[in-house]
């Protein structure tokens, strides 16, 4: 029984803009689980405007549960813009307008009454350059839960340890949890940012070129991490590194000039691209 109830504008309540979403998630044992591939996130004809400039042109794509989907394409093709729309981070850019539907388990996130704070709890994001807070490692990871009501110290410690373990960082930092996060190396900082996002126990993880600012060794560690993470989360990763996409993703979406040119299973897309543009990009005919 999958019950999704979206409490929007309740005429009885006077909270005009409190589109609070409460949801129960379908159990994997429920008989509603028809396909082995569940669509967690889906966009329908998504259009993103910067002022009058249309940056994302009618992109419709579906992202499967517990799979890694890579968004690839040349610089400036809009893959990061698209990614940021999924957790409504583009709201922070003045003049940015989004039209179309962003369906998260059936609920439209682009609805005017959707609660953007709720959205970002379920859809977490890790950025290109590691951006830990100028606080201790513990404070960084505990930040999300703390500001969502978790006050119990022991619970916080458990959450921090669990998240750092999942991000494959626990062993390296367990003895210096209260030292500044800025003293960590670049690769460690990025894994810290991943742990920080994981502490929120999101459903979907958006990764915006998470390894592009890292050295090869750290990149390898992050890629291993992503392989592990997909067991529990749905991962959507933007990358300009095609080999990386081929290595770690199950599905790949190729973007070009704001449009979704091709979407398919990674092995298919890389060996048998259906569109000429895709083939040109993959074979390196243009940057």
């Amino acid at each position: 029984m999958a019950t999704t109830t979206l409490m929007k504008e309740n005429k009885a309540s006077s909270n005009v803009r409190s589109g609070v979403m409460t949801m129960t998630v379908p159990d994997s044992s429920s008989e509603n689980q028809l396909k082995s591939e569940n669509v967690v996130l889906k966009t329908n004809s998504l259009r993103v405007f910067y002022g009058n400039h249309l940056a994302i042109k009618n992109v419709s794509a579906s992202f499967m549960e517990n799979r890694v989907t890579a968004l690839i394409g040349p610089s400036g093709c809009g893959k990061s813009t698209y990614l940021r729309s999924l957790n409504r981070m583009n709201d922070e850019i003045p003049g940015c307008r989004i039209e179309g539907e962003i369906l998260y388990r059936g609920i439209d996130l682009n609805h005017p009454q959707a609660n953007v704070f709720d959205i970002r709890k379920r859809i977490g994001m890790v950025f290109q350059r590691p951006n830990p807070f100028a606080k201790s490692i513990f404070e960084n990871v505990a930040f999300g839960p703390k500001h969502h009501g978790v006050k119990n110290k022991q619970l916080l410690e458990e959450i921090v340890e669990k998240s750092l373990r999942k991000a494959a960082l626990w062993d390296e930092v367990k003895d210096r949890l209260h030292r500044s996060a800025l003293a960590l190396s670049g690769g460690q900082q990025q894994r810290l940012c991943i742990a920080r996002a994981l502490a929120m126990e999101p459903d979907v993880l958006l990764l915006d070129e998470p390894a592009s600012a890292l050295d090869p060794v750290s990149t390898g560690k992050v890629e291993e991490l992503i392989e592990e993470l997909k067991k529990d989360y749905t991962v959507i990763i933007v990358t300009h590194n095609m080999q990386q996409a081929a290595r770690i993703s199950d599905y790949t979406a190729f973007f070009y000039m704001g449009e979704l040119v091709e979407f398919g299973e990674t092995t298919e897309l890389f060996t048998n691209p259906k569109k000429k543009q895709t083939e040109d990009y993959i074979t390196g005919n243009f940057g």
């Binding site: 909270n15 803009r17 409190s18 609070v20 979403m21 409460t22 949801m23 129960t24 998630v25 379908p26 159990d27 994997s28 609660n115 704070f117 709720d118 709890k121 379920r122 969502h148 009501g149 978790v150 126990e201 459903d203 529990d232």
Partner: protein, 311 residues
């Protein structure tokens, strides 16, 4: 996966609603702080203006007499029954000290700024920067007292007169506005893109030629702004000037004779007059002129700033 989400969900949803409230409240509080500042500025403008205009409205003084008359004796009435409020000596005094000090200070300020940015940035940063900051920090009364105990006797001994006057005030003000002018000039020069310097040097120009023809010319609007800021500071300086200028509300015949500025007469007079009477109102009109001049200075800076985008 599901039970975890359900657990969190219950806690999170209530919090999500309250987040909207937290956001709204935070925004409101900061907006109130800003609104308060606007209110304060508006009240100052209103109060000073209404008090300042009362000299003309209530006491029936004439504006032209005020701006151009040479005799300042607000308690007296002239043949037409209007108060004798000729503020020209003060207006001239203010402008004189401002212009003179700006002119003398400018070469040093710009020279120091060029030194800090072009000739020796390391020495500039480590030594001249703290020098500027310390000079700026010295309170104006201390400048005034130093002027009184150093400059005035010096002028008295080496030139004619009592030592008080526009000359003394100019010297004191020159030192006072130096740090302001210098640090703003530094900003203006630093804003010149390095590529311009490199292009000039690559064409074979010497460092001085580059500074003179390229850097200073490009930074000119910014340097002019620096000078205007310095002048505004000099124009509005009260205590340091009042201590060395002699406070005589007449147009001096030389730089060594006691003179006065708007600020000096204002400072001296306010304590000796009674609220509501014409002597007091006349002082408020002086304050109004000061207020208007600072607005004019801001406008000049704005206009200069706009020109910068075209150059």
């Amino acid at each position: 996966m599901s039970d975890r989400v359900v657990e969190w969900t219950k806690m999170k949803s209530a919090r999500a609603k309250s987040k909207i409230w937290i956001e709204r409240r935070g925004r409101m509080v900061t907006l109130l702080c800003v609104a308060f500042m606007v209110f304060v500025a508006a009240s100052i403008l209103y109060f000073v203006t209404s008090k300042g205009l009362s000299t003309f409205v209530i006491n029936k003084a004439s504006i032209t007499d005020f701006l151009f008359g040479k005799e300042w004796d607000p308690g007296k009435l002239d043949k037409e029954g209007k108060p004798v409020v000729g503020a020209l000596p003060m207006i001239e005094g203010s402008f004189a000290v401002t212009l003179f000090s700006a002119l003398i200070c400018a070469p040093f300020a710009i020279g120091g700024a060029v030194f800090m940015t072009e000739i020796s940035p390391k020495f500039g940063k480590r030594i001249l920067q703290p020098v500027i900051e310390l000079l700026v920090g010295i309170p104006s009364v201390v400048y005034g007292f130093t002027g009184l105990s150093l400059v005035v006797p010096f002028l008295r001994d080496h030139f004619s007169g009592s030592g008080f006057g526009i000359a003394a005030a100019t010297i004191v003000l020159t030192v006072m506005i130096l740090p302001t002018m210098m640090s703003l000039s530094v900003d203006a020069i630093l804003a010149v893109p390095a590529s311009l310097r490199e292009a000039s040097l690559a064409l074979g120009a010497t460092r001085w030629q580059t500074i003179y023809k390229v850097v200073l010319r490009t930074a000119r609007p910014g340097i002019l702004t620096a000078m205007i800021f310095g002048m505004a500071r000099a124009f509005g300086e009260a205590l340091a000037v009042q201590m060395v200028i002699g406070n005589s509300a007449v147009i001096p015949k030389s730089l060594m004779e006691p003179a006065s500025t708007l600020t000096s007469i204002l400072t001296m007079g306010m304590g000796n007059t009674v609220m509501g009477q014409v002597e007091n109102n006349a002082l408020w009109t002086l304050a109004l002129i000061l207020l208007l001049m600072s607005l004019i200075f801001i406008m000049i800076v704005r206009i200069l700033g706009r020109r910068r985008t075209f150059e």
